[in-house]
């Protein structure tokens, strides 16, 4: 056998071919279907993997070089941020609650994305997408790590971030993002790519990741802005991969269209429901607002995604029906969500508050058709009660949607005075939903969603107390036991912002940094 002579450098094109397509091989000991068992499962037909066009041309050695360069810059800034007490430069200590929500709700999803892409990278038999998925798997692991490292600076000084990973698997509202991603990673490989690669990374990223990063920039949080920038070039790659996947599947066989359309419908809605948390973050939790949730929905969904769906129309893809519902909800979503967290503020790992009179005026201006009519009276009443020492803490557990796992807080799309109730009977039991769209998702795969780990039902089954708890003891306090099991420190991590340790410490430390006494 001839050995290549040393010293001959490969051209870029050759090197690219060797390090991507050249790494694949045809199986001989086992039939291909047994090596890639999930590829047939979903009914997607792929006739020729060689038609796959790599959306970006990057080899593994170049990948390591670029990422290492970005890491060096990022960690230099994170170190400088820590040394200069950068946390004291944020607009207001209320802002830090945004980071708590991000760290407990979003960073663990980056890690799950890592696992998901590593898994599908193994399950596709086509070499091109395998390499692309492998790189994305590494990106996602890096994002998860850099977020944890950047936010750990805040954990040294503020409450609620000490056990984010433990909380992610247990706390009631974190089951919303968690179950979203668990749903995706437990699907087949093609559905995962449509769910995460396309719907999440391509269609919804400007409404999810970007608002947190622009919120950080507007509120003086340079540490978080920097990890956002460091992830940005990766995100651009992820978006091109997501779009290529859709186009490739649809071009392979006309029979793939209805399957892909169903997944786009499902995952647009699953994503939109998770965005409820972002909506309230933008309108209520950022002391310095970037824009309203409604404005961001109009720009990033109605305009940008509208253009995308026009582009996909040539494949026969249509705009998901759920978009009509979401567009009606844009005037209500953030207010309904913040009402929920305010009243269940004893069971959250971050602080809540009522908007100030100035902030309510901002909300009236941004939501002229709804805020004064439906939400201001409630919020002013709560402010008055709070001033009178009677702050509202709801202690009764809410009914949850079987699919999105959000409390049934959404109103009818055409009547904001009525909660939307939907239900279906499946086998022996009834199941309840917040919307037609969650109901349809359930009815399409009931055997999957009957297994949902609904936090409220789990509490009532007795599965959410520390080991050794006796729920029959006369002094048993269920809320206290659940918070212990969540690792939420009562009085430190939860309850009102006003009077919290975070509020006091931030004021004291900032005072020491800016005044002489």
């Amino acid at each position: 056998m001839d050995t290549k002579t040393a010293g001959r450098k490969l051209g870029l094109k050759e090197k690219y071919a060797h390090m991507t397509r050249g790494l694949g091989w045809d199986t001989t000991y086992q039939p291909k279907e047994k090596v890639f068992p999930f590829e047939q499962m979903e009914g997607i037909k792929i006739h020729d993997w060689d038609k796959w066009e790599d959306p970006f041309r990057l080899t593994m050695d170049a990948y390591w070089k670029y990422q290492a360069e970005k890491e060096r810059k990022l960690y230099a800034i994170i170190d400088a941020f820590a040394q200069n007490n950068g946390h004291l430069n944020v607009t207001d200590a209320r802002y830090i609650n945004v980071l708590k929500l991000f760290l407990t709700g979003v960073s663990p999803l980056e890690y799950m994305a890592h696992r998901g892409f590593a898994h599908v990278g193994r399950q596709f038999s086509g070499v091109g997408p395998r390499v692309a998925c492998q790189m994305q798997a590494l990106d996602e692991l890096r994002h998860s790590q850099t977020q944890i490292h950047a936010i750990s600076n805040y954990n040294k000084h503020y409450n609620g971030m000490h056990d984010f990973r433990h909380m992610h698997d247990r706390v009631w509202y974190l089951s919303v993002p968690k179950s979203f991603f668990d749903d995706a990673v437990s699907a087949g490989p093609f559905e995962f790519m449509v769910a995460i690669g396309f719907s999440f990374e391509y269609v919804l990223t400007n409404l999810l990741f970007v608002p947190f990063m622009s919120g950080a920039a507007y509120n003086g949080d340079m540490g978080t802005v920097t990890f956002g920038f460091s992830a940005q070039s990766d995100e651009a790659r992820h978006m091109t991969l997501g779009l290529e996947v859709i186009k490739f599947i649809l071009e392979q066989d006309p029979a793939n269209l209805p399957i892909v359309q169903k997944w786009i419908d499902k995952w647009s809605w699953r994503g939109i429901r998770v965005l409820t948390l972002v909506a309230m973050m933008m309108d209520y939790m950022l002391p310095k607002r970037v824009m309203s949730w409604k404005e961001s929905w109009e720009i990033y969904f109605e305009q940008n995604a509208g253009a995308l769906f026009k582009d996909l129309a040539r494949y026969g893809i249509t705009v998901p029906e759920c978009v009509t519902t979401a567009t009606k909800e844009k005037d209500h979503l953030s207010h309904q969500a913040w009402s929920t967290f305010y009243q269940y503020g004893a069971a959250a790992a971050f602080h809540t508050w009522m908007p100030s009179p100035d902030e309510m005026d901002w909300l009236s201006a941004k939501y002229p058709d709804t805020f004064d009519k439906h939400y201001r009276p409630r919020f002013e009443y709560w402010r008055e009660q709070e001033a009178a020492g009677n702050r509202f803490y709801n202690k009764t557990l809410p009914m949850l949607c079987q699919v999105c796992q959000i409390p049934m807080l959404f109103t009818e799309p055409d009547d904001p005075t009525k909660i939307a109730y939907r239900e279906t009977q499946y086998k022996e039991d009834k199941y309840h939903f917040c919307s037609d769209h969650c109901q349809h998702i359930f009815e399409d795969e009931p055997e999957k969603y009957v297994q949902a780990w609904l936090p409220v039902h789990q509490i009532y089954q007795g599965n959410c107390f520390p080991e050794g708890t006796d729920p029959t003891a006369p002094d048993f306090d269920p809320l206290a036991a659940v918070l212990q099991w969540y690792h939420i420190e009562f009085g430190a991590d939860n309850l009102a912002f006003e009077g919290s340790e975070d509020e006091k410490n931030f004021a004291m430390w900032r005072g020491m940094a800016t005044q002489n006494s």
Binding site: L397, M408, T417, H432, Q451, Y460
Partner: protein, 117 residues
């Protein structure tokens, strides 16, 4: 390998897992200050009237309208359909099973400043 068509899941919330209780969801119409209906575990033999007198005050009592409720005038719905519970009978005798959802409407009471809050 199991195909998606014959895949079977194990339901997480069947009635046998609730230690003798069954779930009942209760919502108060026109009072969105309570962001969502509530979920309760009750024994099927519990008297319906005991829920109204012993459970609902703790759940909904924060609202200034709650003290004004004229219970005999309240309208009840089960899965959205009119429903006439007998306060002296049990949940089971009233036909309420595991994971049923009921709502009540209190005519004349429409929340904080009539905002349905």
């Amino acid at each position: 390998m199991t195909t998606p068509q014959d895949y079977q899941g194990i339901p997480k919330d069947t009635v046998d897992k609730f230690h003798g209780n069954q779930l009942l969801y209760i919502g108060w119409e026109d009072h969105l200050m309570f962001c969502a209906p509530f979920a309760f575990p009750f024994p099927p033999a519990m008297r319906f009237g005991d829920i109204v007198s012993h459970v609902l005050p703790a759940a909904f009592g924060y609202h200034p309208d709650f003290a004004k409720i004229d219970w005999p005038a309240a309208q009840w719905f089960k899965s959205g359909q009119p429903f006439s519970p007998d306060f002296d009978r049990s949940l089971a005798e009233n036909g309420l099973g595991h994971k049923d959802v009921i709502r009540f409407r209190t005519p004349g009471l429409t929340g904080i400043k009539g905002s349905f809050s």
